[in-house]
């Protein structure tokens, strides 16, 4: 009987930056050293998944499945703004040419504190099918953090959630974790607002000293893990410059890639699923 769970390659897990490199999932990482950290910066990630362990077999569907782009701009009054765009491709279908895309566009104002705590936000979900946006299905999450409570609306319907502990949002973790690590405050608990909507209690950040290593490709890397209610163990990989280069969780990775959005556009234009061997990466 076919062994449904047998991994294809015993030596490529768990996912680490160098494992991703070996699996040809990593393009040359952007040179972040020239970025103006006081001004506007943009960081993009390719969302990538490995299935079947990454080896070449019928079971392997390792590929690009989306992108995340975050643009950070300074504001006054101890705040900075974060503009976020995430696209998730849903093009696994044999019957039509294009399929669907779930696009999320968010504008957040965050406190310049260790947790990059959101203060105000507006997140719009756009569902595209066959390259056309489904205009009849608007969905907008808005909110502000005020007087120790989240004041949220979904399509204008209000709700309020008291929040007494330190908190942040999942997108903001990408900003917050390098900051907390530098401040020596990355070993802590906090609440996470999942997709700017749902409160995830009991989230734990912890530097994984045992996982830190010097990569031949990326230099010294430090690892901070997130665990907690409703969360698969997630590793955030930060380089010496304090840049978050990778986020890995089970078989999924966010990989720093300045051309991530362009690749998604290419996939949509050419209508093919970009597998790891098709990405033109350098040899492992």
């Amino acid at each position: 009987m076919k062994d449904l769970c047998r991994p294809i390659d015993q030596n490529i897990r768990p996912l680490t930056p160098d494992v991703l490199k070996r699996m040809r999932a990593v393009q040359p990482v952007a040179d972040v050293s020239m970025r103006d950290k006081q001004g506007t910066t943009t960081q993009s990630y390719r969302i990538w998944q490995s299935v079947g362990g990454g080896g070449r077999s019928d079971n392997d569907q390792s590929r690009v499945i989306g992108s995340l782009t975050m643009t950070r701009s300074p504001e006054e009054g101890g705040l900075f703004s974060l503009r976020v765009r995430q696209q998730v491709l849903m093009i696994d279908n044999p019957d039509i040419k294009y399929g669907g895309v779930h696009e999320i566009v968010g504008d957040l104002d965050c406190a310049a504190d260790g947790c990059a705590t959101p203060q105000r936000w507006r997140v719009e979900h756009r569902i595209h099918r066959h390259r056309k946006r489904l205009e009849a299905l608007p969905l907008v999450y808005e909110g502000r953090f005020e007087d120790g409570a989240l004041h949220q609306t979904i399509n204008g319907r209000p709700r309020q959630t008291p929040i007494a502990e330190a908190w942040t949002a999942d997108w903001c973790l990408i900003e917050a974790i390098p900051r907390l690590l530098i401040q020596g405050d990355a070993d802590r608990s906090l609440i996470v607002l999942d997709r700017m909507r749902d409160v995830l209690p009991d989230q734990r950040l912890r530097p994984r000293l045992e996982a830190d290593y010097v990569s031949p490709h990326f230099g010294p890397l430090r690892c901070v893990a997130q665990t907690g209610h409703g969360t698969l163990p997630t590793d955030y990989w930060i380089n010496e410059a304090g840049e978050l280069l990778f986020v890995t969780s089970v078989h999924q990775a966010y990989i720093a890639d300045d051309r991530a959005e362009a690749k998604i556009q290419r996939i949509l234009d050419e209508n093919f699923i970009m597998r790891f061997e098709e990405q033109g990466a350098t040899s492992p």
């Binding site: 769970c5 044999p94 099918r129 608007p138 969905l139 045992e210 078989h251």
Partner: protein
């Protein structure tokens, strides 16, 4: 004439029947599913008609048994509608009523897991193959967007098929090495214990060996259980956002919610993972039907239900005739009777499930489970006395009459099916 209810058919994927905190499981927190359980009728004895993704979904959406739909495995046959000429749930409903039928998520009913063209349904979004972590959020958003913008003058059927906790399969694949030390600061106290039947052997003709059996340590097994419950909790968040959308838009009382899963998960029973075997871990699933104000909250520990009942139940609530090819029954009369002084459970003695590529059948009666395999293997369990299925009574003389009775039921069931021409008949026991 009053408007019939809206109907939300909400499913998870690979959901063990006890992976809910409302079932008393202390290793998982599922407040949103718990609320759903508390708001409606929760059936403890609910079984998948075929405990693999594709075949089960073909049963749901065609109303037929697997050997009729021909979908007996996760293979692409074109789907039950294409293969049999019988209408899908969406087609039948929309052709016989004013309902709009909408679909989001994983289809996989005998053909490709993700389709933008499904007979009778308007598909708003699919999912990401083998990435439930990411795509369930999108599926939930699509559903929420539909529910918050739905036409109030026309009834709808919204089918939302979430993909979690199926990603446990990926967790298993990513954890192939022997584990001797726990990562992430976890301690053994954080991990669920192994089940009572962990070391109890299975029979090869009934279930295949856990692929990790040879390399996994006890820590691996317990870490896998811990992982599984995190997948379930991720799914719970999506269920919460969907039900909340109904509540916040004032549609909860006017919507019949059916919540179930396609199959269970081995969860280390007999050192098995995943599904496709007839033991309860794989084949028994959560099943809740809720409509606050119309259906009283009730926990039903005995009534046997199967995924084949979903199609006829939906049609009955929609006021649509139930097609002759449906093998399940409508649960509406029973649910309606719960509000009276004389609840009337469905009048049936047993249910039958197909298992693993037409090789196995399971017959479940009120108290017993009979398993028959194409190679002649038979098993018989007293599910009240032995819920972990560790005392095979097939050769117990005290149960010989009951075994015969279950064999006869299986023969009667098979004889009543309109078996697909391309399928070999199931080899019934010759005893």
């Amino acid at each position: 004439m009053s408007k019939p209810p809206n109907i939300l058919f909400l499913s998870t994927d690979e959901h063990h029947f006890r992976a809910l905190s409302s079932s008393g499981n202390p290793h998982v927190k599922t407040p949103h599913m718990d609320a759903l359980v508390a708001s409606g009728v929760s059936f403890s004895q609910s079984y998948s008609p075929n405990p693999v993704c594709g075949p089960c979904r073909a049963c749901w959406f065609s109303g037929m048994a697997s050997s009729e739909s021909s979908v007996i495995g996760n293979v692409n046959r074109g789907g039950p509608a294409a293969d049999t000429g019988k209408p899908t749930m969406g087609r039948w409903l929309t052709e016989h009523s004013d309902y709009r039928a909408v679909f989001a998520g994983k289809w996989h009913a005998g053909d490709h897991p993700f389709r933008y063209t499904i007979d009778g349904f308007d598909v708003i979004l699919t999912g990401v193959n083998r990435n439930a972590m990411l795509s369930d959020r999108s599926i939930a958003v699509a559903t929420e967007a539909f529910l918050r913008n739905a036409d109030r003058d026309r009834p709808w059927l919204m089918v939302t098929c979430l993909q979690q906790p199926h990603d446990i399969c990926e967790s298993i694949r990513m954890e192939s090495q022997p584990l001797h030390e726990l990562p992430y600061g976890l301690t053994e106290d954080d991990l669920p214990p192994l089940p009572d039947n962990f070391d109890y052997p299975h029979k090869n003709s009934v279930a295949y060996a856990g692929p990790t059996e040879s390399t996994w340590t006890e820590l691996n097994w317990r870490y896998y259980l811990w992982h599984y419950y995190r997948h379930v909790e991720m799914c719970d968040l999506q269920v919460g956002s969907i039900i909340e959308a109904l509540r916040e838009t004032g549609q909860l009382e006017s919507t019949l919610v059916i919540f179930t899963s396609d199959h269970g998960e081995g969860l280390a029973s007999r050192k098995l993972v995943q599904k496709s075997f007839p033991f309860d871990e794989s084949i028994r699933v959560p099943f809740v039907i809720s409509q606050p104000g119309s259906i009283p909250a009730h926990h039903d520990p005995r009534t046997l239900v199967t995924g084949l009942d979903i199609f006829p139940t939906i049609m009955d609530y929609a006021g649509v005739p139930i097609p002759d090819h449906c093998r399940g029954i409508s649960l509406k009369p029973y649910l309606g009777s719960l509000a009276t002084n004389q609840p009337a459970p469905p009048d049936r003695q047993y249910i039958v499930s197909d298992v693993h590529n037409n090789d196995i059948r399971m017959v479940r009666s009120d108290r017993y489970k009979y398993i028959a395999c194409n190679d002649g293997t038979e098993l018989f369990f007293d599910m009240d006395a032995d819920p972990f299925e560790m005392q095979d009574l097939i050769d117990d003389a005290n149960h010989a009459a009951r075994v015969r009775e279950h064999r006869d039921w299986l023969r009667a069931w098979e004889a009543g099916l309109d078996r697909h021409a391309e399928l070999e008949p199931f080899l019934l026991p010759t005893v």
